[in-house]
């Protein structure tokens, strides 16, 4: 038995821990790769300038998607604005839960698709968007819908879009940096190499890091994403006080095997349940689960039952 507050606090602690680990890893990778680049360029601190360039490029790309996330996602998904009369339950449930969580009512959209799913995005609570599919609105009753919406509003309240954007900037930077380094080293590196042992070690380490760090960074990014899902589940229960609603909603959504047409890989992490659905069992399962944006539904339900 875990009470809601402790579940929330534990999830916050764990996600802070993952973030600390992530930043530590990014700093180490940037340091090693830029040192190794310095060897090619012939002077030591040169690589840091390259890291700066990688940071700026990745930052600009992510900033655009962060700043306009609501508009981009909505135009990709082909959503229509929700209507109070037509989508009475959806509209009013969001209104009510916004009161409870003390955030302004987000903009509401509906995707015409029978696969039940929902997502939230937007850079801060003032520019937030909650979007649900017609399938979700038809298949869930009001209590279940409250669970799902409270989960989405928790993402908004916890600034998850912002957090994931920061993580994405850093992952993008590592990928760019590693890519640049590998290109330079495959070309053979024209600068005369000094036979100093330290630079040889950095060169070797640089190659190892350049190959591995984009994957590792991506894995940590996914771990952050999964942790935020658990946190949003716990926060959802803190708002509605009815774990049963979210549990049965997750069961209904998971049981439905129809893939969501409007979703693609770039937007998958936003949804309440992975829109591509989970397949595969056994030994492969654990490995595959490392690459998932969402924790398995069964694990989420088990965590929720402990709070019930």
């Amino acid at each position: 038995m875990v009470n809601v507050y402790e579940a929330q606090a534990a999830n916050k602690r764990k996600s802070a821990l993952i973030m600390a680990l992530f930043i530590l890893f990014v700093s180490a990778a940037v340091y090693v790769i830029s040192q190794a680049m310095g060897v090619y360029f012939g002077y030591e601190p040169g690589g840091l300038g390259v890291a700066g360039i990688a940071f700026i490029i990745s930052g600009i790309i992510t900033f655009v998607s962060y700043y306009a996330s609501d508009k981009i996602v909505l135009s990709i998904s082909g959503a229509r604005p929700a209507d109070r009369k037509k989508d009475f339950n959806f509209y009013t449930v969001v209104e009510n839960l916004s009161i409870a969580s003390g955030i302004p009512k987000p903009k509401l959209y509906v995707i015409e698709d029978t696969a039940p799913n929902a997502f939230a995005t937007g850079r801060d609570p003032d520019h937030a968007v909650v979007c649900a599919t017609t399938g979700l609105l038809q298949k869930l009753d009001r209590t279940e819908l409250e669970g799902v919406i409270a989960h989405e509003l928790s993402h908004i309240k916890n600034y998850d879009t912002r957090l994931m954007s920061i993580v994405a900037v850093l992952v993008g930077m590592i990928a760019l940096l590693a890519d640049m380094f590998l290109r330079i080293s495959f070309r053979g590196g024209r600068g005369e190499r000094r036979g100093n042992q330290a630079s040889a070690i950095f060169l070797l380490l640089g190659i190892v890091f350049a190959i591995l760090s984009p994957i590792i960074a991506r894995l940590i990014q996914l771990a952050v994403s999964r942790r935020r899902e658990f946190l949003a589940d716990a926060s959802s229960v803190a708002i509605t006080r009815q774990p049963s609603g979210l549990i049965s909603a997750l069961e209904i959504i998971a049981k439905d095997h129809e893939p969501l047409e409007a979703a693609n890989k770039a937007t998958a992490h936003l949804y309440i349940v992975n829109p591509f659905k989970e397949k595969g069992h056994g030994a492969v399962d654990w490995f595959a689960s490392l690459f998932n944006t969402h924790p398995p539904v069964t694990e989420r339900i088990a965590a929720l039952r402990k709070m019930a």
Binding site: F88, E95, L97, I99, A100, S101, G102, A238
Partner: protein, 193 residues
């Protein structure tokens, strides 16, 4: 070395300011949340005349319900005017007590149950009842947050320094029937069909 000390000093000062700000802004937010309860109750009270008007013709024999509804509405109006959270909560409870009997009366009447207007109004009523409940939830959550930070280390140091009082939030009697489970309630209810 002196730079490290200055750095620590700056961090401490920032922490101090943000903790102080947490307490004062929580107080302001709780005040706002209490007003929100009043706001929602008022909405609820305004919906009821519409519902009454559309069902009164069918439910002439249930005049007792309508008397109680009117009375509850008056209580809400005066409680909202007074701005007292406790009075508002009491008035809301009064109304909530009448609504189920109205729901039953409507459901017993097939003519009404089938009517679109009444169905919509009943939806709206359920929705406002939820809104009032969630507005109260916000007061409860904000107050609990405030009260925890007030006594927990290290923010309690700031709270003590500025004498931030414990806030009551929604007053619930700390003793009484609602905290006890009677013998009756432990039995699983049997439903006869």
């Amino acid at each position: 070395m002196p730079y490290i000390l200055i750095g620590i000093g700056v961090i401490l000062l920032l922490w101090f300011i943000s903790t102080y700000n947490f307490f004062v802004s929580s107080k302001a937010r709780i005040k706002g949340a209490v007003q929100e309860i009043g706001n929602q109750l008022k909405r609820q009270a305004e919906l009821i005349p519409n519902l009454e008007a559309s069902v009164k013709g069918y439910l002439k024999h249930e005049s007792g319900i309508f008397e109680k509804l009117t009375e509850a509405r008056r209580a809400i109006a005066s409680a909202v005017e007074s701005g007292n959270a406790q009075k508002m909560a009491d008035a809301g409870a009064k109304l909530a007590a009448v609504l189920p009997s109205l729901t039953i009366a409507v459901e017993d009447n097939p003519e009404l149950k089938g009517s679109d207007v009444v169905g919509k109004l009943m939806d709206e009523l359920r929705d406002t009842a939820d809104k009032v409940m969630y507005a109260r939830r916000l007061v409860i959550d904000l107050t609990a947050d405030y009260n925890v930070r007030r006594v927990a280390m290290p923010s309690s140091l700031v709270a003590n320094m500025f004498k931030f009082d414990e806030l009551a939030g929604l007053i619930t009697p700390s003793e009484g029937k609602h905290l006890k489970v009677s013998e009756e309630e432990t039995k699983t209810p049997k439903v006869k069909i």
